[in-house]
Amino acid sequence: MLNLQKHLRTLSFAIAVAGLTLVNADDDVEFFENNIRPVLVDYCYKCHSSDSDEPAGGLQLDTKIGIRTGGETGPAVVPMDLQESLLLSAIEYRDLEMPPDEKLDDEIIADFRQWIKKGASDPRDDDMPHDTESDPVAAPPLWSVQPVQNPQVPVVENHSWPVSGLDQFILARLESSGLTPAVPATKEILLRRLSFDLIGLPPSVDEFQSFTSSADDTYPAQVERLLDSPQFGERWGRHWLDVVRYGESTGSSRDVLMLYSWRYRDYVIDAYNSDMPYDQFVQQQIAGDLLSSADDESRRRNLIATGLLAIGSKSLNGGNLELDIVDDQVDVISKAFMGFTVACARCHDHKFDPIPTADYYAMAGIFRNVDTFYGGSTRRPTTLKDQLKVYLPLTEDVTELTSQVDQLNKQSAAIQKKITPLDKRSKSLKKQLPDNWKPLLASIDTDEGAKSNVEAVETLSAKAQKALRQYGDVQKQLSVLKKELSVVQAQQADVPRPEFAFAVQDRKKSQDWPIQVRGEKGKNGDTPPRGFLSCVELSDEFPIPVEQSGRMQLAQWMTHPNHPLTSRVVVNRVWQHLFGRGLVESVNNFGRSGSAPTHPLLLDWMAHRFVHQHKWSVKSLIREIVLSRTYQMSSANNEEGWGQDPSNQLLWRANRRRLEAEALRDAMLAASGQLKSERPAGSLVQQVGEGEVGRNIDAQPLGQPFPHRSVYLPIIRGMLPEMLKIFDFPEPSNPSGQRTVTNVPTQSLFLMNSEFVQQQAGAIAARVMESSSDNGDRIRFAWLMCLGREPASGEIEETTQFLDRLSISISDDSTRNVQVWQTVCQSLLASAEFRFID
C-alpha cells in the first residue's frame, strides 16, 4: 500500500509537471515578463546567471530558485518583503551598488518594488534547463521505471455501463469530472471501425449485411473472425514495422538495396497471426539465434527474428559505420521495447532521464560483440564465398554447397589455365598466316576443302603451311576447352544459392566496451561492464558471463515479468492503435520529456493483466479492449464533453481517426475487387536485384501494378511508394511509434488525378454497373462498398442528378455510362468520409 501511495505521488507529480505549461499566463507573470525579466537579462545575467562560469557572489538571477535562495549574502528576493530583498537594496544603491556601471532608472526600480511587494511572481520554473549537465539527484523519480502496480478497479456510480475493469477505470474518471460516456456507436459504424482496426480493411458488403441485419449480438463473433483472419497480422505487423524502422535499402547517403529484409517482415506478420506471446517475440528479436529451437523451422524463424538488429539504415559513405550500427541497435531496442531514448546517452549523460553514459556503453557493449549481416558495403558481392561474409545463410550447413562451388571453381580455373596460353599462341600464330587464310584452313587438315584451296595451300611457303597447320590445331583445342568451360559454368550457375537473411551472430570472443568520450571513436573513458539500464530495478539479476555477448541476458531482462517498461510500452501501443492516442501520448518516449499518462492506474492495470492474465498474448489484450464499452462508444460530439475536454483526454467518446496510407490504399483495392489477399513471394526489390538507388538499378519492376496489400510494397528508404509517402508514411530510418496526420493539397491531387485512384474507380464502376441496372440500387451498392453504409435518400437524389448532368457534358456515346459511374465512384474514394473512421 505504501508503495502504491509512493507510486501515486510520483504519477501525480508527473502529471503536474506535464500540466505546468497549461497554466494561464496571468497578469503578474505578464508584469514579470514585460518589466522585470528584460532588466534582469540586460543588466544582471552577464555576471549572475547559470551561464556565467562563476556567478558573481554565487548569485544566479536567471532562475527562480537562484533568485530566491540568493548568493553568499542571502536571498536576493523575498516575496512581499522589501526589507529582506537584497536585490532591491542593491539596485537602490543602498549597500551594494548594482548594476555597477550605472544606477537603473527610478521607474525600473519602482517596478522591482512593485513586483516584490506583489509576491515576486516568477514563471521561470517553466524554463527548460539550459544546455548544462542535468542533476539527476534533484530530479523526482521517473514514473515509468517504478514497478507496475496492480491497482484496485475503481468503484463507479453507473453500474450498468461498464462491462469490464477497463470500462470502470474510464468511467470513474469521467464521473469524477462530471462527464458521461457517449452512446454506443451504430452497428454500421462499429463494424467499419472494428474491421479497419483489426485487419486494416473495410467489411465486405456481405459481412456488413449479415452483421447489421442480424437481430442477435454477433459482435463478439465478428471480433473472433477478425482476430483469426490472416489479414490481422498484416495490419498489426505493419504497426510494428513502423516501430522498428523497417526498410529494404540502406537509406542515408548511399541508398543500396537490401534484398532480404522482407524475411523479417514476414516473420513479424506471422508472429502476430500466430499470437506469439509478446515476451517470446521480444526474445527472438534480440537473441533468436541463441535460443534453443525444436526443429529447423523454428531455428530459421529465430534467426530471421534477429533481422531487427540488421535492417536499420546504414551510412555506407564513411563515418563510424561500426559504431553507428551499434548505436542504431541500442536505439531501436530501447525505443521499441522500452520507450526510452537511450541513444541520447552516447555522448553525454541523458539530459532528462536517469540514463548515464555508462548505461549506454553497458548496453552498447553487448552489441559490440555482435556481427551484423546486412549486405556489406556499397558493392554487393556476387560469389557465394563473398556473399557468405555479408549475408547469413538460413541453410544450417552450407559446407556441401561451398565444397561443390569450390570444386567447380577449381575445375573452371584449371580449364582457364589451359585456355590462356593457347589463346596467346593462337594470337601470335595468326600474325604469320597468309592473307586469305580462312578458306585455306579448312582444307589443310580435312582434305575436304575445295580443290583450288588445296592447290593454293601447296603454293604457300613451308613456314606458312606450318603456321596454318599449327593454328588449326590450336583452334581445335580451344574450342574443346571452351565447350568444357561452358559446361562447368552452367553447373556453377545451377548450384543452388542458400537462402540468405539479414541477421546477427555473436563473435567468438566477447569484451566490455570503454566509454567513448563524447561519443567519439578511440577516446576511451571508464569501461562499464556490459549490462542494462541502471534505473530499472528487477527482483532477479542477469549476470553476463564473460565469454558471452549478453544478448541472451538482455532478452531475459527485457521480458522479466516485473520489467516496468516492457509491458507498459506495448500495452500503450496497442491502446493507441485502437483509440487513436496512447494513454501515454508519446508512445516512444516514456522519459521525462515525454507525456505523462492520462490514466496511470488503468495503464498499470492493463500492463499487469497483460503479463499475468493474458500471458503476454497480444490478441487477448486486443480482444479485451475491443469488447469493452469504451471502445464501442460513438464518436459523436456533445456540448458537455466538448466544452470540458475537447481533446478527449478522458475518453468521453471515440476518437475519429484518419486511415493510414496502407489502409487507405488497401480499402481502395478491396472496393475495386482488385486486392490479391495472398502474400507475394519475397519482395519487389529482389526483382530489381542488387544495386543502388539512383546509380545502377533497373526500377522497372517497381512500376508494375501491385495488387497486394500495402504492407508488402517495397520500402526503399530513398524511394518510397508514392501513395505511402503522400499519406504520411513515417521516415523509415527512425523508429516511429506515431504517425503524423497531414492534410495537404498533394493528397487531394493524388485522389483527383492519379492513375492508381482512377484505375480503382474504374474497376469499382464496373462492379457497380454489373450489380444492377437500376441507378438507385447501383448507388446503394457503391455506398456499401466504399463507405460501409447505406446512402441517405438525399444522397441518392443528389447522385442521380449528378449522373444526369455529367452525362450531358460527355460527348462520347460509347463510354459515357462508364465515365459517369467512374466519376461517381472516384468521388466516393476521394471523399473525407472514405479516409476517416468514426
Binding site: 505549461t21 497549461l22 494561464n24 515578463e33 525579466r37 528584460p38 537579462v41 545575467y45 552577464k46 517553466d126 524554463d127 527548460m128 534547463p129 539550459h130 544546455d131 541520447c344 539530459k351 568520450v517 563524447r518 577516446k523 459523436a636 460530439n637 456533445n638 456540448e639 466544452g643 475537447p646 481533446s647 483526454q649 475519429r656 521516415e731 527512425n734 503524423t740 497531414t742 492534410n743 495537404v744 493539397p745 498533394t746 487531394s748 491531387l749 493524388f750 483527383m752 488525378n753 482512377q758 438525399g794 444522397e795 443528389e798 449528378f802 448532368r805 455529367l806 457534358s809 467512374q822 466519376t823 461517381v824 468521388s827 476521394a830 471523399s831 473525407a832 468520409e833 479516409r835 476517416f836
Partner: protein
C-alpha cells in the same frame, strides 16, 4: 437543439475571432463555386494587429548549425589563443577565413560569404542568439515551433492563422526541400491549429528542387469543367460528413484542400516555371546545371516568385552545416551552395521594391562551439548558448550587428536574443502581437512564444 446551439456558438465565435470558418462547411448553403467564393475562407487575408512592417516572410534555413565565428562574428581573441586547451580534451580552434568590414555599414563578414558581403548593408545580424537545446531534432523543432517537447504549430502556421494569404490559388505556406527527419512534417505542421494552416512541402532534402515534379497535377480523363462538377459532388459529400461532427476542423481542412488543389492545378506550374526568367537572373542566383549553387539558388528564386505571387511564407532549406570534423571543407561546400542565391535574393527583392515589405530570416537551429575535440582543430560542435542569425528587409535596421558572444564565442553576452524573442520579433514585424496571437485549445490560450518572448526593439527600424 442543444447540439445546434453549441455548434452555432462555435461558428460565430470563430468568425468574430477573425479567422472565419470553412466557407463550404455551411451545409447546403454553398451549392456552387460562386456561392462558395462569397463565403469567407479561413485563409482569406486578415488585418494584422497593428500596421505590419513586413507582409511576407522568407526563412533561409541553414540546417545543422552554421558557425558564427566563420561567418559574421570575428573572434580575434579566439584566433590568438588557437590550440589552447579548454575543458577536457578540447582545444580552441581559430576562425578559418579572413575578415573584412563590408559596405558602408562596415559590417563584419568573412571571406566565406563573399556574395553576402556585397549586401552587408541590408543585413541586421543577431549575434546574441541563444536557444534551449543543442541536439538537432529538438532544436530544429524549437526553431520552427517554439517547443521541442510538445507538438506545437509551426511559425508559418501561426503567421498564416494570423494573416491569411493573398493568393487563394497557391498554398499560403510553402516549405521547399524540407528534411523528412529532424521532426519532419512537424516543422511545417499546424499541430492543433486547423489543418488548413499547415505548410505544403515541395520536394524534400533528398530531392533537388529542379526534380520536384508536382505530380498528379493533371487529369487525363476529365476536362476542367467536368472535374469541377465532380469536385462539387465530392465537396457536397464532405459537407454532409462535416455535419457528423462540426467541431472537427480536419474535414474543413479536406474541403479547403480540394479547392486549393483544384486551383493549384493551373497556378502551381506557372509559379514553378523558371523558363521565362532571363539568363541574367538565373546567373545572378547561381542557377545552372552542375553548379553547386544550383539547388539553393533555385529555391531562392522560387521563394521570390512565390512571395511575389502572394504566398505568405516560404522556407528554403539547405543541407547539413553540421561539421564536427572537416569544418573548413564542409562550410566551404555549404557556402558554395547557399551564398550566391542568398545574396541574389536580397538584391532581387530590393530591385523589385519588395524587400521593404518582405522579411528574410537566415540561420540554423543553433551555432557552433569555439572549441573542438579534433586535434587538427578542424571542427566545431553544437552550441545553443550563443550563435548568429540574421534578418533583412521589412522593418529591421540595416547594416547592423546586434549582440555578441563572449570574446571566444561560447555564450551570448550582449544583446542576448532567445529564440522565443526572435519569434516574438518576427511576429511583431509581420504586424502580429505575440501575446495576442493565441488559439484556445484544451482550455488554454496557446501562443507561439508560450509564456516567453520579448520583441527585440533594438533591431526595429
Amino acid at each position: 437543439m442543444n447540439k445546434q446551439h453549441f455548434l452555432t456558438s462555435r461558428r460565430s465565435a470563430l468568425k468574430s475571432a477573425g479567422c472565419g470558418f470553412g466557407y463550404l462547411a455551411f451545409a447546403g448553403l454553398a451549392q456552387s463555386e460562386a456561392a462558395a467564393s462569397k463565403a469567407v475562407s479561413p485563409l482569406a487575408p486578415k488585418p494584422p494587429h497593428f500596421p505590419a512592417r513586413a507582409k511576407r516572410l522568407i526563412f533561409l534555413h541553414m540546417r545543422g548549425g552554421p558557425s558564427a565565428m566563420e561567418t559574421f562574428e570575428p573572434k580575434p581573441e579566439l584566433d590568438r589563443r588557437s590550440g589552447e586547451k579548454t575543458r577536457g580534451n578540447r582545444w580552441l580552434t581559430p576562425s578559418h577565413w579572413a575578415w573584412k568590414r563590408r559596405g558602408e555599414s562596415g559590417l563584419w563578414v568573412s571571406d566565406l560569404f563573399l556574395h553576402q558581403a556585397e549586401v552587408a548593408d541590408e543585413l541586421c545580424v543577431l549575434s546574441g542568439m541563444h536557444t534551449d537545446i543543442s541536439n538537432h531534432t529538438p532544436a530544429m523543432l524549437q526553431l520552427h515551433t517554439g517547443s521541442f517537447q510538445f507538438t506545437r504549430p509551426s511559425l508559418g502556421s501561426w503567421v498564416l492563422y494570423g494573416l491569411g494569404t493573398e493568393n487563394s490559388d497557391l498554398p499560403g505556406f510553402v516549405s521547399l526541400c524540407p528534411p523528412a527527419i529532424n521532426g519532419g512534417a512537424n516543422n511545417y505542421g499546424s499541430a492543433f491549429l486547423p489543418a488548413v494552416y499547415q505548410g505544403v512541402s515541395v520536394a524534400d532534402i533528398k530531392t533537388p528542387i529542379k526534380d520536384a515534379r508536382i505530380r498528379n497535377l493533371e487529369n487525363t480523363r476529365l476536362n476542367s469543367d467536368e472535374q469541377r462538377q465532380q469536385l462539387d459532388l465530392v465537396q457536397s459529400m464532405n459537407r454532409r460528413f462535416a455535419e457528423r461532427d462540426p467541431e472537427d476542423t480536419r474535414v474543413d481542412g479536406v474541403i479547403e484542400s480540394y479547392e486549393r488543389a483544384f486551383r493549384m492545378q493551373s497556378a502551381m506550374p506557372k509559379v514553378m516555371d523558371l523558363s521565362k526568367e532571363s539568363r541574367s537572373t538565373l546567373d545572378m542566383y547561381g542557377i545552372g546545371d552542375g553548379r553547386p549553387s544550383d539547388n539553393f539558388g533555385r529555391q531562392c528564386l522560387l521563394a521570390r516568385r512565390m512571395i511575389e505571387s502572394g504566398v505568405r511564407h516560404v522556407e528554403c532549406c539547405d543541407e547539413f552545416w553540421d561539421q564536427h570534423r572537416a569544418l573548413k571543407k564542409g562550410h566551404e561546400d555549404r557556402a558554395a551552395a547557399v551564398d550566391q542565391g542568398t545574396a541574389a535574393l536580397i538584391r532581387d527583392l530590393r530591385q523589385r521594391g519588395l524587400l521593404d515589405e518582405t522579411l528574410v530570416v537566415w540561420g540554423g537551429e543553433f551555432g557552433r562551439t569555439p572549441d573542438t575535440s579534433k586535434k587538427d582543430l578542424d571542427g566545431r560542435d553544437h552550441n545553443a548558448n550563443g550563435y548568429t542569425m540574421w534578418l533583412a528587409g521589412g522593418g529591421v535596421k540595416r547594416g547592423l550587428q546586434h549582440g555578441a558572444t563572449d570574446e571566444l564565442g561560447f555564450k551570448a553576452v550582449d544583446g542576448r536574443v532567445h529564440l522565443h524573442d526572435l519569434h516574438a520579433t518576427i511576429l511583431h514585424l509581420m504586424g502580429l502581437d505575440h501575446l495576442g496571437l493565441t488559439y484556445r485549445y484544451a482550455g488554454r490560450d496557446f501562443r507561439l512564444t508560450d509564456v516567453h518572448g520579448r520583441v527585440v526593439d533594438e533591431v526595429l527600424a
